[in-house]
Symmetry: C2
Subunit: 597 residues, 2 copies
């Protein structure tokens, strides 16, 4: 996206949020210019009166004008600023919300693709760290103000002499060109710094991070890390030394040019006071006025250059944001048929999957069918494609080819949110949120009455074996999960959290339930308890389990054996154990061997 | 720690890093004041000449003085600034390094205690986000500069009239008092904002985080999260509205006071031009000089107030840093006896442990002994205290009471780094680093020749079953672990990473090896393979295993059965299986039940 397009899109978004905003910005610019003009023009009369008539009444009058005008402008500008500050906060939060909303709705595959992940990171960086929008609005406003000020001052100086204006514009052009060249250099040289900074940040971050400290101590990684940090820090230091040298030269040059401009202004206006060679003589008051006009002009022109650079820079930061915002939403993708009733049948037909940018197939044309109420276990080696099946079912991944049918219809034909209601999943890396335990379990489903919800949540907590733990808590199920910001929140062990996640999946009353390594963090007794209650917990729902603990397969009606992305077998435990050459037999035996008493 | 103490400590630290730094700061302040003075005093002569003699040679001479002086100051100040900028980068990095170093060396217990964790977070925040040190140095320098400028300008204005100075000082005092009151109000009102901001940040962060998106989609948490974000964002918005209102009033007041000061300056100096009521008449040149002195004085005084506030604020930010830096180091804690040879015996004697701020004992007076070469398994329910034993052995936690003896000596009597050489541990939540695979495995031990190291690493990789995987890589063992900043790095699955972590522990050639859930992420075949090779891998080392997979106990010489922080049993698998009422029997049976073919 070009800068122009980004700016246009940004303006249109801002307009939508607050249409009056841009008019106010223009108005504010005019008023700020007004203050500058008053302080350029009014003192002329005061000085003229001081040098000339020295009439006390006049002196007091002009003095008063200056003071009152400044107070009025001050009041107005501060009020505007306050108004704008509040508006900026509002805009910034709206932007954050838009971004958060987009991330929660964008096609999930984008969140696992390095390209889009990087885009997301840069967009988040722009929103959160750089406050790119705030800075952009501020800079656009300042560009506007600078432009209005420059035009007004040009008019003032033009009354003295067009040649004077021309000379000033010329010298200013030099510093603006210098600024532009330096900006270009800066952009290029910063590219060198970015990877160094990233690595430096990574290693310092490692050292700052608590969870790495055990391994750092036991494996004596301290010095290795410090060496990296020192190495990158030396590189950064050297970069800065080089950069500030160039920057010093540039700033020195611009400084000399600015002083030259001031000298020209003082010189030319001074000559006009003492001689009429270049036009009619002017008074000391006019001298003050033109000199301060010229100086304000220089300041504004330099400022304009800087602000334009900032606008360009902020547009650059905002580009990833704009690009991310225009990615397609999950829910919008295909499907309008509302999903109704229960999962009666589930069928994979020749389904293949590979990651977008990869050519390695994770699943290669797999086909199988599950009937209502069946309990299926998926087993296989690490990397066989087990979790991919879960993600495909949850519409987190889309098949590269083939079709998944539920109740005889391609799952992508169903409307997204009604489809999501038919299934519940406990992922291997499930997450709970800093909501109350009650809220975590009932999730976004809130169709029932509060008291019924509570009753159901409490029943489920009892079933997964957390009743006593919750009863200990002062606030019961209303206790916040985690201590992120509430010291009264509850920190749970891996096993306890896993139980809450299982309760959450069961609460959903989905007719298809998927459990990926649901007991990996549980001790043998808790594990046995969960398995014992599984059939009771899951009831007549269709269920898919994934577990490295082969014993869990014994409970299941059928076992889907995956081997390198294809189906090696799909049968009952009993039948599979008869095939002594089969993968399943091998897996089961290898674990069972040491349990023979 | 008081602000004064923090400032003192900060100055002493800075002095250590670069003694010349502060002298340069003072010198810089004097020079910057010089520039202000030149621009206050020199124009007087120019204006006087313009109004009076209008001698061209004089005019050019004064004009030239002004320009040359400014160019000289510009050059000098820019050079100084450049020098200081580079120095600031240096100081900032040193601070980062000091912080990183401290975190890596501080007593581990501090990193699990919420109080110290919070302190660490605030210290890191000060270093990284606020650049507190940079800002502090900058502000201290500006305070210095302001002070020197103010004194010089007072001297200049004193030549006009002490009364004039008095009036200015009075009006300035009013705005400084207002500033101070407002700062106090601001500090208080910000306290209200902090918890809101923290929660807002937490929920926005959740929405931004990729790893939460699966659960957000499946459990329809989207709206719940958005509601939280909107709720907190409304609170922030309201807060800002209220705050900017007060701020507007304050700034308006200060603005009026500033205008009043300018009016007084212009008025008083103007009167001195036209009348001799308050002393001898002065010329227009002097008028210019005194007015610009008064205005510079006002600016500097306001600036001084602001900078002092910033210094206080930055000291506040730096306090957690200073406090964290003064925590005791792990290595310094007791012990100077170098650990030599192998672990011959290991004995826990009446060891108890509870977390510093808790009264619940995790371990209650446990005693047991392990002999050289024994393989011990620790089993028990979640929360029984298994991992705590590991952390105590690694000196990550210190017993609340009781003693751990290795080779007959309290482990805290040994010198830290030599002690850490005697053991290797694979933690449940082990971490690998963005170093090469080779570097990850050999860790900080680098006593051997490079080729021998490589050979050993490659042998170990073969033993843990990663030989083929590594052989596929272009750079082999020199491949970077992870893709954090190198697209050529390798992302490993949980199982593969765990194998690398096991290789790392074995590389260490420690005589005591501890494995906490070492195969939890491995599939049944990989698990069986690791177990099969364990005795071969571990050799004659003393070994402690923790695993929820009871089958791993079968390999062990003895099993330590923990139940609620006390030792329920400590015997061989065979003996323990004879006690049908025992915990171990129950645990083993519950898992074995489903493996009976």
């Amino acid at each position: 996206m070009s800068n122009g397009k980004t700016l246009k899109k940004f303006i249109s978004i801002s307009f939508q949020i607050s249409p009056s905003y841009f008019f106010l910005l223009v108005f504010q610019s005019i008023m700020e210019t007004g203050q500058i003009l008053v302080n350029v023009i009014l003192p002329k009369y005061l000085v003229d009166e001081l040098v000339g008539g020295r009439d006390k009444a006049n002196l007091i009058r002009f003095g008063l004008y200056i003071v009152l005008a400044n107070v009025a402008f001050l009041f107005f500008n501060k009020t505007m600023k306050r108004f704008m500050d509040v508006r900026n906060i509002y805009m910034k939060e709206k932007l954050n919300q838009a971004m958060a909303d987009k991330i929660m709705k964008v096609e999930f595959a984008c969140l696992e693709d390095p390209y889009y992940l990087d885009l997301k990171e840069r967009a988040v960086f722009a929103c959160r760290t750089m406050s790119a929008l705030e800075n952009l609005i501020g800079s656009v406003a300042r560009v506007l103000k600078n432009a209005v000020t420059i035009i007004s001052l040009l008019v003032v100086m033009f009354t003295l002499s067009p040649v004077f204006v021309l000379i000033l514009v010329l010298t200013i052009s030099i510093s603006i060109i210098a600024q532009k060249l330096f900006s270009k250099y800066q952009l290029e040289i910063y590219q060198e710094l970015i990877p160094i900074n990233r690595r430096y940040g990574y290693y310092v971050g490692l050292a700052f991070e608590g969870k790495y400290q055990k391994d750092i101590r036991v494996y004596n990684m301290n010095r290795m890390l410090t060496d990296r940090v020192l190495d990158y820090s030396r590189q950064i230091y050297d970069w800065f030394k080089g950069f500030t040298k160039k920057q010093g030269l540039f700033q020195g040059f611009v400084g000399v040019i600015n002083d030259l401009q001031a000298a020209i202004a003082y010189g030319y206006v001074g000559i006009r006071v003492i001689s009429d060679k270049f036009g009619g003589k002017i008074g000391i008051g006019s001298f003050t006025m033109y000199v301060s006009a010229a100086i304000s002009f220089t300041t504004s022109a330099t400022d304009l250059g800087k602000n334009i650079m900032t606008v360009i820079q902020m547009l650059g930061y905002l580009q990833p944001f704009m690009e991310f915002m225009s990615l397609p939403d999950e829910a919008k993708r295909e499907g309008s048929v509302p999903f109704e009733g229960a999962v009666e049948s589930l069928r994979f037909e020749n389904v293949s999957f590979h990651y977008p940018k990869s050519e390695n197939y994770v699943l290669k044309g797999i086909s199988f069918e599950i009937k209502k109420g069946e309990k299926i276990s998926i087993v296989g080696l690490n990397g066989a494609g087990k979790s991919t099946i879960v993600k495909l079912l949850c519409r987190l991944y889309k098949p590269a080819s083939g079709t998944i049918y539920i109740n005889g219809r391609d799952i992508y034909e169903y409307e997204f949110s009604s489809y999501m209601k038919c299934l519940a999943a406990v992922f291997q890396d499930y997450k709970l949120f800093a909501f109350s335990i009650l809220e975590n379990i009932k999730g976004g489903e809130a169709s029932e009455e509060d008291s019924i919800q509570r009753q159901r949540v409490e029943n489920l907590l009892e079933q997964v074996g957390l009743k006593e733990k919750i009863a200990e808590l002062k606030k019961g199920v209303d206790t916040l999960f985690g201590k992120q910001y509430d010291p009264e929140g509850i920190e749970m062990s891996g096993g306890q959290s896993q139980k809450v996640a299982i309760a959450r999946a069961l609460y959903k009353e989905a007719s298809l339930i998927i459990l990926d390594e649901p007991t990996s963090a549980l001790d043998p007794l808790a594990e046995a308890e969960i398995y014992e209650h599984f059939n009771q917990l899951v009831g007549d729902k269709t269920a898919i389990y994934i577990s490295h603990r082969m014993s869990s397969s014994v409970f299941c009606d059928k076992i889907l054996v995956l081997d390198g992305g294809i189906i090696a077998d799909f049968d009952s435990h009993k039948k599979l154990m008869e095939k002594e050459e089969g993968m399943y037999y091998k897996l089961f035996k290898s674990q069972a061997a040491n349990y023979q008493v």
